[in-house]
């Protein structure tokens, strides 16, 4: 209609990228950026009949994905957990992991972070909880500030990788891959990342014990009754998490049904802990509506944009350009990782998952790689984007609960060694795909 088609796909692609970044820069919400760009290109390239049909069918189709129903359920589950005292009791119970080792409390924090990640699929809440629980504890004991902050942020963002991760659900949806397989494939890489963090902390504190003083003997001494009480109160929520993941892995329930069961389980646990009340319910539900509104509306726009771009021949153009390069396939994967890292500096994971994955995944498949493996690389990559400046959300979440003397700059500096570890883990999975593919292949 606007004669954009006379530009040719090469210039149109460039114009599209410039439009997206230009609109993002002036502060237009990502949900509208993707949607508006989709509109401009759909109506600019095709006649209005085709354009309307394209946009409506993409939008309506996206809203009707059954898998998407799992997202509000997992978000609701996490919001309820965040508002209960379950994280606190879990933290107290896990004190046995701290032991007398230098750096022990940081290790304890990571173990708790792994558990919390297995109970919810989003980050943010976890960083806030760990920032409220673990950070003051470590600072009081005289831990090195940078080590303490880095541990909290790195641990809190494990949620993107540990099942049930919403990042992987969205990836599975856009790349048309089995979410069960993705959830299986991510287990070993997630533990690998967790162990890298723990090893780093232990080695660093062994070399310089002043970085993470151990708990004193009297602090380690907890009466048995106290231990039992706090252990008892976490058994139920841990069981709920095990049940949710178990029923997905065993194929008893779909991801969506398992997520719904998870919400019921958490509701029951909080009720038995005498914490459930209307206010908590009301706040959690509203938070869920807000989070889901953000995610889905970015999704609607991005889905329409990808639909328009592909119909314009964009996917064939990018595919041809990339497959035409005279380089080893692994170099192409590395370049994709690099592009995602750069995009991750500016954009939320949901935008990258919905915009870049529909273009990247078919290429990955054509190159002969496993899209499940690529999904794990993607989620590891998004971990980096959670931490990395200038927009790493982890820092903002932590800043909102950290003592005032901890600056955003200090938080970002503290994350650097952990970002390096994430990249190491990413490279390990990249060059040894079996780390991810062994479990689903069994």
């Amino acid at each position: 209609m606007l004669g954009l088609e006379s530009l040719g796909i090469e210039w149109a692609s460039l114009l599209l990228i410039l439009t997206i970044f230009g609109l993002l820069l002036i502060g237009l919400p990502l949900a509208f950026v993707t949607g508006l760009t989709a509109m401009i290109f759909a109506f600019g390239w095709f006649n209005p009949m085709v354009a309307t049909h394209l946009v409506t069918s993409r939008v309506y189709g996206f809203l009707n994905e059954y898998v998407l129903v799992a997202i509000p359920m997992f978000v609701l589950m996490a919001s309820l957990l965040d508002r209960s005292g379950i994280a606190r009791d879990l933290y107290n119970t896990m004190r046995l992991f701290a032991g007398r080792l230098p750096g022990g409390v940081a290790v304890q924090t990571l173990v708790v972070a792994l558990f919390l990640a297995a109970m919810s699929g989003i980050i943010g809440g976890e960083i806030v909880l760990l920032g409220l629980l673990a950070l003051p504890q470590m600072l009081r004991m005289g831990y090195d500030k940078k080590l303490a902050i880095g541990t909290v942020c790195a641990g809190g963002s494990l949620g993107t990788m540990v099942p049930p991760s919403i990042v992987l659900i969205i990836y599975g949806l856009t790349a048309n891959q089995s979410i069960n397989d993705l959830f299986l494939a991510t287990i070993i890489p997630a533990f690998l990342l967790g162990s890298l963090y723990i090893t780093y902390i232990l080695v660093k504190c062994r070399l310089d014990p002043s970085l993470g003083p151990p708990l004193s003997a009297e602090e380690l001494e907890i009466p048995l009754s106290e231990k039992l009480r706090s252990a008892k109160s976490v058994i139920l929520p841990v069981l709920v998490a095990a049940m949710v993941l178990g029923s997905i892995y065993a194929g008893i329930a779909s991801v969506t049904e398992a997520a719904s069961m998870g919400v019921v389980g958490v509701l029951l646990s909080t009720w038995l802990r005498k914490e459930l009340n209307w206010k908590m319910m009301y706040q959690s539900l509203r938070q869920t509506l807000n989070t889901v509104g953000m995610i889905i509306w970015i999704g609607l726009g991005a889905n329409a944009l990808v639909g328009a771009y592909n119909l314009m021949g964009g996917n064939r153009f990018v595919e041809g350009a990339i497959l035409g390069l005279d380089v080893a396939p692994i170099v192409i994967i590395l370049v994709m990782m690099f592009i995602m890292l750069i995009l991750g500096l500016f954009m939320d994971w949901i935008g990258i998952a919905l915009l870049a994955m529909p273009i990247f995944v078919p290429i990955v498949i054509k190159l002969g790689y496993d899209p499940i493996w690529f999904g794990i690389l993607f989620s590891m990559n998004m971990q980096v984007s959670y931490l990395s400046p200038p927009f790493g959300p982890a820092a903002f979440y932590l800043k909102s609960v950290a003592p005032p003397d901890i600056s955003l700059g200090l938080i970002y500096r503290s994350m650097l060694p952990f970002i390096a570890l994430q990249i190491v883990a990413l490279m390990l999975v990249l060059f040894f795909p079996q780390i991810a593919l062994w479990l689903p292949g069994l």
Partner: protein
């Protein structure tokens, strides 16, 4: 001594922080209504959850899978998805990059606000039209006769027109919201970094 190592972690503290995370910026009266209605719409998540769980029980315990659970869950949650867009717009919580926005002068920021809300208006108006066409086609035959499109499954209820109509209502509301934001941005004068109105006269 045993008590001293117990964490001083109060539930109230978390509550305060999470309310803080929910920090929102409600600009017009319509936004305030949408925000309030949101607490009713969000109950749909609980209804969807209940239906899903009921389906699991009837499948495994009573060995009689339902025909309607799957579709009705999607239907209810799709409505809340559509509403979520208006809800986030009302609360100004859609994700955006604020780097340049926070950096520029209040007057430029006002221009950004006007431009952004106008672009938002154009987008929502365009998809409102598309949603209108889609809804019309699911309710009327090309000849203009009233005929509700059905889902075509074993249950075969007129779910699609309901979802499409709710989508149309939500998007239409968003277009009005955006239009009101444009008017608000023009009227209120230069604004501070987080949407606070700056009193130019006082400076």
């Amino acid at each position: 001594m045993t008590q001293s190592n117990q964490l001083k972690f109060q539930p109230e503290a978390t509550e305060k922080v999470f309310d803080n995370l929910d920090n929102c910026d409600i600009r017009t009266r319509l936004d305030a209504y949408i925000d309030r209605i949101g607490s009713v719409v969000s109950i749909l998540f609980l209804v969807g959850m209940t239906i899903s769980v009921y389906e699991i029980f009837s499948r495994y315990l009573f060995n009689s899978p339902t025909l309607w659970a799957h579709e009705s869950t999607i239907f209810l949650v799709a409505i809340s998805f559509a509403y979520g867009g208006a809800y986030c717009l009302a609360r100004n919580t859609h994700i955006s990059i604020r780097l340049l926005y926070d950096w520029v002068s209040p007057r430029t920021r006002q221009i950004f606000d006007i431009v952004n809300s106008s672009l938002g208006f154009i987008y929502t108006l365009a998809i409102a039209w598309a949603a209108f066409e889609m809804t019309r086609r699911s309710m009327f035959t090309p000849m203009g006769e009233f005929r509700l499109e059905t889902s075509g499954s074993a249950w075969n209820q007129p779910i699609p027109p309901l979802v499409k109509a709710s989508l149309l209502i939500c998007i239409g509301t968003m277009a009005v919201q955006n239009a009101l934001h444009v008017i608000k941005a023009i009227r209120q004068g230069p604004v501070g970094p987080h949407g606070t109105v700056i009193d130019v006269e006082a400076n």
